[in-house]
Amino acid sequence: MLAVRRKGYVLVGVLLILLAVTGVAHSLLVMTRSEFFASRARWDRLTRRLAAEMGLKVASRTLTGTDSLSWGEWVPSGSAAVPPRARYETRVVRLSREVFLILAEGSLETEPGRDRQVGIFWAMDPVARYADAWAILESGRPAQMDAGGAVDPTRLRDTPAPWPETSCSRFSPDLDTLFHSGLPRQGELHEDPRAGIRETMGSGGREPLLPSLGLLGHDALIKGSDLHVSGSVSPGPVQRLGRCATSSPSNWGAPLDAAHPCAEYKPVVTSEGSLVVNGGRGQGILLITGDATFRSAAHFYGLVLVAGDLEMTGESVIEGLVRVRGSVFLGARSRIVGSACAAMSALDAAERLRELVPIPQSAWPDTH
């Protein structure tokens, strides 16, 4: 009996088609998986970058009061885990008295690889600010003085009389490194009563703007204020239950009483508009966006920045440094006593003005 051979064309064809469809499905799977892994890698990289940027921001916010870093010191400034799986580490180096470099590295706890961000920041330094513009009085227009009114340069490096000698001695080594042969033209200051005066300050444009302190302009200075006042003030120290009442707008510290609870309180006081200081005493930094008037026996220690004009009458005295956008008038018995110590200690105490601020657009990814 002859065997009948049957040919399964259909079965073979179906198998071939199934094979082809499987191949196509596999290629789709491979493409989908590669897209998935590419997306995940991008997500991981973004997470690392954001962690590094967070480190940069945290380090710049927490590093206030720059005395803890000596020049060129390269120290870890912080690290933290950012839930759920990222972490950052930061290091900071002081490039100059006022310029800081912060390097932040972001990483994942489960994956290798690091993303680095570099940031350049600026923080106000009292010694650098003084060295940058050491004139006792700087104004936008010529200073007018009645006979007897004076800008006294003879006590520029002295500690003000009621303050302990230690108040400013810590600035001396830094000043000595900046001015190797003593303060500039200090000898001339004794001979020429106008030598400590500079009349070169710009007007600040149409809007009256406060003289700047390095990168700290009008808005940044006001933002860093401790107290806001207006109109007429007779400042004097205020204590409650043996503590300095720092919330009182008329409490500008106790410069003449070393035993007072407010002896070390040197606030940044802002007047948005003109201000009359009618007698009284105070210390710190005084920011006046309008005109400033000191009357009767007003006595202020520190730094005074005025966007308008300055008028001093009666026996009013400012010990420190003065910057005025407009004109200056000194009455017969009023004086500006140049004092680097008073100005620098006021700048040193202004912690909110000493926070790190980014140098404009000076942060970038480090991709090496």
């Binding site: 082809a20 196509v24 789709l28 590669s34 310029v99 657009q361 991709t367």
Partner: protein, 235 residues
Amino acid sequence: MVETLVSLLLGFAVLSFGWGALAHQRTVASRLSFEMDLLSARRLAAVVIGKELRSGVRGRDWTGPALGGLSLRAFRGWGPVCGSASEGRRIVVAYHGERAANPVKDSVLVLTDEGWLRADLTRRTPGPPACEIDLGGNSELWTIDPPISGALLARVFERGSYHVSGGALRYRRGRGGRQPLTMDVFDHDRSNIEVRMDRVIFHLFADGMSGGADTSSAVLQFWTPRTVECRLKNC
């Protein structure tokens, strides 16, 4: 006879269906492959341009408004200055970079206490280890012109520009040719780069002739940091 006819008809139907399915699958696979290339190209554009723009400043390192291309300073490395000589003509830098600094095509931005100053990089040699502390990077001695005293930090950059031409995102270094960074997946006529005052916009349309749908387009917007800050603070 009937069995033969039925099996032939059935076989023809199965083969016809299978052939159609295969053809359709091939179209889908081709389209998917193109979409993947398109996604990769867009992703690459977002990463590369995002990094370039984050490294610079509008107005200083890239300017607008402009249409057709993004011309910028492309930063390639940086380093703290550990020492200087010849009144600031020669500086020792602890260099970190994605490539070595090249005096032929690179310039430098130097940070001082007064701000950023630009100089030409005229010479670069391995330098003495001048940094008192370990800052990482390679110690290099650079000669710059004009000299800059009080240098604190230096950044290396080259002049470059990005374009969408010939269907691809391309980078042109200096006055050289435009080198493709992506595959040819964009519609040459409709895709472009628009530089505005507050942002850079990449209009990336898929190339319909290569399998992309006419409606497949992406708009990548890179906002300047200040603009982002203002948007968040509603200023």
